[in-house]
C-alpha cells in the first residue's frame, strides 16, 4: 500500500501532554479536543493539518502518559502516518490499537523539510526528494489490527458484531 502526504516536522521527545494537554482531556469528545492538539508547542498546527498529512519527528515520540486520546487525536486529524526515529512504548501500542500507522526510521527525520511531500510504500520504503529510505515491515499481527481499524474493531469482528 502506498501513501503520499505533506510533511509536518516536529522534534525529539514530543510528549503526550504536548499532543493533548491535561486541561482539554475533560472535553466531551475527541472532535472537541483535536483543535488543541500540539497546542503548547505549536498552537497553529491542529488547524493547519490537512487529511493525509504526515508527521515526521525525532526520537521518543509519544513519551509520557498512557492517555489514549493522544493517538486518537492524531488519527482524528486524519494524519496518515507518523514517522519518527523512535516511539515511546505505551503510545506505540495505543496507536496500533487505534489504527494509526507508525513508522520508525532513523534518517528521514534529519532530512525532512516541512511542507514538502513524501511517498511511503508501507513496509517497504519511503521516497523523499528522489532518495529511497528502507522501511522494515510491521509484524503481521500488528498490521492486521491496523488494517481492521484498531483493536476494538478487530474484537467486534471476533465477537460477531461485524
Amino acid at each position: 500500500m502506498k501513501i503520499e502526504g505533506r510533511i509536518w516536522v516536529l522534534g525529539d521527545d514530543i510528549d503526550t501532554d504536548i499532543i493533548i494537554p491535561t486541561e482539554y482531556l475533560a472535553l466531551k469528545s475527541i472532535e472537541d479536543m483535536k483543535k488543541f492538539a500540539f497546542s503548547p508547542l505549536r498552537p497553529e498546527l491542529a488547524g493547519s493539518i490537512r487529511p493525509g498529512d504526515i508527521i515526521v519527528a525525532g526520537k521518543n515520540f509519544g513519551c509520557g502518559s498512557s492517555r489514549e486520546q493522544a493517538p486518537e487525536i492524531i488519527k482524528s486529524l486524519q494524519v496518515s502516518c507518523v514517522i519518527a526515529k523512535s516511539f515511546a512504548r505505551i503510545f506505540y501500542r495505543n496507536a496500533i490499537n487505534n489504527g494509526l500507522l507508525l513508522i520508525e526510521n532513523a534518517q528521514l527525520p534529519d532530512v525532512a523539510t516541512e511542507g514538502e511531500n513524501i511517498t511511503v510504500s508501507i513496509g517497504e520504503f519511503a521516497e523523499y526528494q528522489g532518495v529511497r529510505y528502507e522501511l522494515s515491515p510491521l509484524p503481521r499481527n500488528l498490521m492486521e489490527i491496523i488494517e481492521a481499524g484498531g483493536l476494538v474493531a478487530a474484537m467486534r469482528k471476533r465477537n460477531g458484531l461485524e
Binding site: 482531556l25 508547542l41 509520557g64 502518559s65 498512557s66 505505551i90 495505543n94
Partner: protein, 414 residues
C-alpha cells in the same frame, strides 16, 4: 541460558517453561487497575461498541478515583458517576478519595510474581514488590478485562547495580533523576530496568517505589527489584502472600549493565521541560519559585513527609510561595497526623490536600499560571504539565522541595 526475573514472570503468565527477549506471547493478566483518567472511555467502549460483553474475571479488576478527586467540575463528576455506577453493577473493587492509585495498589493488592496491567503509565511502580506492572491505554485495558489476556513482547533487561549507601541529605529521588539524566528519557525504551546490589537490598519498599515508579520516564516497560526479606516484611504487614518468589538467574542475559555508587550521588533537579535534563541543585540555586509540591505516585509517603517535616520544623514558607502537600494515601495521611507532621506543615504555612494526584498532572488542584515556576516531587516536568503552557516545572526530592519553599528559591537543605 538463565532468565531474568521479568522473563520468569512473563513465562509463568504465558504458561511456558521459558521465554526470551524479543518473543511475542499471549499472557494471562493477574490484576487490572484503572483510574479516573480514562476509565470512562473504557466503559463507553464496553457498553456502546462491544455491546456489553462478559467480563473475564471481575475479581481481578480494581477501579480507583484519584486523578480529579473530589470532582472539580460537572464533566469530571459525570465521568466519576459513570465509573462508580459501572463498578457497582459489575461488583468491581472501587476506591474513591482513598489515595493515589499506585499507592493503594501497593497497600492492598500487589504480590510478587504477578503480571499487572494498569491504564496508567506509572503502573511500573509495582516492581518494587517484585511484580511485573506495566501501563497500557484504555483499548488494551478493555481487551484485557473482556478476555483476561493480552499480548506482550518480552523486553530486554538493563541491570542497575547499586552499591553503598546515600550520604545524609541524598535520597532515592536524587538517584533515579541522576540515572534518567544519564541514560536519557528514551534510554530504556521498551526495556526493563532491574535494580540490584547491596544498595538496592538496603532500600525500604517505599524507597524502591521511588525508583520503579520513574522507570517509564526513561521509556521502560517496567522497573523491578527481586523480592527479599524487606518484601516479605512489607507483605506480612499488609497481610498478603506472594504469588511467586522469583529471582534472576546468575546466567541471565542483560542488554547492558550500569553501576552506581550511592555515596557519590548528589542532590539534583530535572529542569523544565525534560525529565532527563538533570543538573545539581547548586546549578539552579537562584531560580525563584512560586509554588512547591510534595506528593504524587513518586512521593508523598511517610518517609518523604518525615523528611519534609524535619526541614520545615520551626520555619515559615517564603512569602509569595504556596506549598501544597498531598499524602500518598489516607493510611499515610493518618500516620502523618499521628506523628505530628501535619502540625509542622500547617505551622510552616503549607496547604495539606486530600490524597490524590494533585499538582503533578495539572488538573483538579494547584494548577500554576503563566510564567510561574513550580518545584515538585511529581513525575513529569513536560511543557505545561502543571498548568499554563508557559509555566515551568523543576523536579526534585521532597527535601529540596521543602527547603526551596522556605527560601523562595531552589536551594539545598544541607
Amino acid at each position: 541460558m538463565g532468565m531474568t526475573i521479568s522473563e520468569k514472570i512473563l513465562a509463568k503468565a504465558a504458561g511456558r517453561d521459558r521465554v526470551s527477549a524479543g518473543e511475542i506471547h499471549t499472557v494471562d493478566i493477574d490484576r487490572l487497575m484503572s483510574n479516573d483518567g480514562t476509565t470512562h472511555l473504557t466503559i463507553d467502549m464496553f457498553n456502546t461498541i462491544l455491546k456489553k460483553p462478559r467480563i473475564a474475571d471481575k475479581d481481578k479488576l480494581v477501579f480507583i478515583i484519584d486523578h480529579n478527586v473530589p470532582a472539580d467540575n460537572p464533566k469530571t463528576a459525570a465521568a466519576h458517576k459513570k465509573m462508580r455506577d459501572f463498578a457497582k453493577e459489575h461488583e468491581i473493587a472501587f476506591y474513591e478519595g482513598k489515595g493515589v492509585c499506585h499507592q493503594i495498589m501497593m497497600e492492598e493488592y500487589v504480590r510478587p510474581g504477578e503480571l499487572i496491567f494498569g491504564a496508567d503509565s506509572h503502573t511500573c511502580t509495582y516492581g518494587a514488590l517484585g511484580a511485573f506492572g506495566t501501563g497500557v491505554g484504555n483499548t488494551d485495558f478493555l481487551y484485557a478485562i473482556v478476555t483476561g489476556k493480552s499480548w506482550v513482547m518480552v523486553p530486554h533487561s538493563l541491570r542497575f547495580h547499586l552499591t553503598g549507601r546515600f550520604q545524609e541529605g541524598v535520597y532515592p529521588r536524587d538517584l533515579i533523576l541522576t540515572i534518567i539524566g544519564d541514560i536519557g528519557a528514551d534510554g530504556a525504551t521498551y526495556k526493563v530496568m532491574e535494580f540490584t546490589g547491596d544498595g538496592a537490598k538496603a532500600m525500604s519498599i517505599n524507597e524502591r517505589m521511588v525508583l520503579t515508579n520513574m522507570a517509564v520516564e526513561a521509556g521502560a516497560k517496567t522497573g523491578i527489584f527481586q523480592p527479599d526479606e524487606k518484601t516479605a516484611e512489607y507483605l506480612a504487614a499488609c497481610g498478603r502472600e506472594p504469588k511467586y518468589l522469583l529471582e534472576s538467574d546468575p546466567d541471565a542475559v542483560y542488554e547492558k549493565e550500569y553501576y552506581y555508587d550511592l555515596s557519590k550521588i548528589r542532590p539534583v533537579v530535572a529542569r523544565p521541560d525534560n525529565v532527563d535534563d538533570v543538573v545539581s541543585v547548586d546549578e539552579v540555586k537562584n531560580v525563584i519559585i512560586h509554588q512547591a509540591f510534595i506528593g504524587s505516585c513518586n512521593s508523598g509517603r511517610i518517609e518523604e513527609l518525615r523528611t519534609a517535616a524535619s526541614i520545615l520544623k520551626g520555619h515559615k514558607i517564603h512569602e509569595g510561595v504556596r506549598l501544597l502537600i498531598a499524602p500518598a494515601s489516607n493510611t499515610v495521611y493518618l500516620q502523618a497526623l499521628q506523628e505530628g507532621l501535619l502540625d509542622i506543615f500547617m505551622d510552616a504555612g503549607a496547604m495539606i490536600m486530600n490524597s490524590n494526584c494533585s499538582v503533578c498532572w495539572g488538573s483538579c488542584q494547584g494548577v500554576i499560571g503563566e510564567g510561574e515556576v513550580l518545584i515538585s516531587t511529581g513525575t513529569r516536568n513536560f511543557k505545561g504539565r502543571a498548568g499554563h503552557k508557559d509555566s515551568k516545572v523543576y523536579l526534585a526530592s521532597a527535601a529540596t522541595v521543602a527547603a526551596s519553599a522556605v527560601t523562595g528559591k531552589i536551594g539545598g537543605h544541607r
